[in-house]
């Protein structure tokens, strides 16, 4: 590695950092980033020091560009950079700033580094150094991108958990009768949630009958069936009987072919018939008002 790169990294660090942060506090003239939020200064500073340490180490260890495979050193560098990059990405997301701004900040640092490198070089800068530095920043940009995507994925799955909580209501239909309308995909996580909600409600309302309606479940396969069986068992343990409704004719036929039977659970084709059954179990019925005009 040319001595100039190491020198720049060592001796002009503070100057570089100051320059970088100063310029980042304003929107760039070419529009490659909008001004960094004041709360971002600390994460940026932290990232800068880690980055400089990594670059300096790599530069002094004479990195060659020859290998296409990510070298051990590159992986080390990625590991070291992950915490500050993650923090930066998370802060930007929290402040509702775009990923392109984040990348803009990093690429602007590359720009400053190059300028410093050229200014300091008393002789021509070695091509190898330029290529290498460029390569490093490309890696960093890619890593930032991946981290931002991972962060977004996490955000989405957290959101779907809250949607899931909203979409498993246990309705109190009548005195001692609960209705659990299942809608959508019943996976392991959701099944547990549904069972928990139901058990709470059974205890709270001293429910004697629970109507589980499957009209909104697109496909009843063995996994879904097993989840429903577990829910039924749990409900029974708390003394509530279960009436299953809303299994389509195709669904019923398929369940038979799968060899699945829901034991001695009462099953009714429609929700209406299921509710009638539940009322019967609790000794009630819906009757026309005597005085009602015909």
């Amino acid at each position: 590695m040319t001595p100039s790169l190491s020198q720049v990294l060592k001796h002009r660090q503070d100057e570089l950092l100051e320059h970088w942060l100063r310029d980042l506090s304003q929107t760039s003239s070419d529009g490659s980033f909008s001004s960094a939020h004041p709360e971002l200064i600390e994460p940026l500073r932290e990232l800068f020091y880690v980055l400089m340490t990594q670059l300096d180490q790599a530069a002094s260890r004479e990195i060659s560009l020859a290998t296409d495979q990510p070298s051990r050193l590159e992986r080390e560098q990625q590991t070291a950079l992950e915490p500050p990059l993650k923090q930066l990405v998370a802060e930007q997301a929290r402040l509702q700033r775009s990923l392109s701004d984040t990348l803009g900040f990093l690429l602007y640092l590359k720009h400053l580094l190059f300028k410093a490198l050229f200014a300091a070089a008393d002789q021509a800068v070695e091509e190898r150094s330029i290529l290498w530095l460029d390569h490093c920043f490309e890696q960093i940009a890619r890593q930032t991108f991946d981290l931002a995507l991972a962060q977004r994925d996490r955000y989405i799955s957290e959101q779907s958990i809250s949607i899931m909580e909203l979409s498993t209501p246990v309705l109190r239909l009548w005195h001692q009768i609960l209705l659990l309308p299942l809608v959508g995909v019943i996976d392991t996580g959701r099944a547990r949630q549904i069972t928990d909600h139901l058990l709470e409600a059974i205890a709270k309302y001293e429910a004697r009958v629970t109507v589980i309606d499957l009209t909104g479940v697109p496909i009843i396969d063995t996994s879904v069936a097993q989840h429903i069986m577990k829910t039924i068992d749990a409900a029974r343990l708390l003394g509530s009987r279960v009436v299953l409704t809303g299994i389509s004719p195709e669904g019923a036929q398929t369940l038979t072919k799968l060899g699945i039977r829901f034991g001695d659970v009462i099953s009714r084709a429609s929700l209406r018939a299921g509710i009638a059954e539940a009322l019967l179990i609790t000794g009630k019925r819906i009757a026309a008002m005597e005085a009602s005009p015909r």
Partner: protein, 168 residues
Amino acid sequence: MVDLPAPSEECGSRRFSIQTEADVMAVARGARQLAEHLGFSQVRAYHLATATSELATNLAVYAGGGMVQLHVIEDPAKANRIGVELRVEDQGPGIPDLALAMTEGFSTGARLGCGLPGASRLMDEFSIDTSAHQGTRIRAVKWRQPALLPTAPISTEAGSLAPTRTAP
């Protein structure tokens, strides 16, 4: 492993990568839509979707992920007879005892153990190619119309199994 016949390329085909159980719904939905689009009856489309869901779930649970492909195929023996071919492949641990795995109620995962035997009953054709450490490949077909007569199961390959199917 024996090479399975190549799928017909003339019509549509769709690939789904399955990594976790969360990926299963998309392929089951895709199978159902494809079947309904091709004019399958509701029941037959539901059968196909459920079998797809079973096999895809097994990929996520037992094989550490894999690939599901749906192809529209035409029966070479019979004109105008179309169906959906399901190919499910993984590089997982394989199934050491296939006959046992096809037994109703057998599960190494504390599940119902109905998926494989059930899927084979839901489909018109069903064959598995697997052995320990070799991964598993399953080919299954659901035709748009039921066969008039139940066709006899054919199983010649070692380590493959075509369970008895019943005419729907």
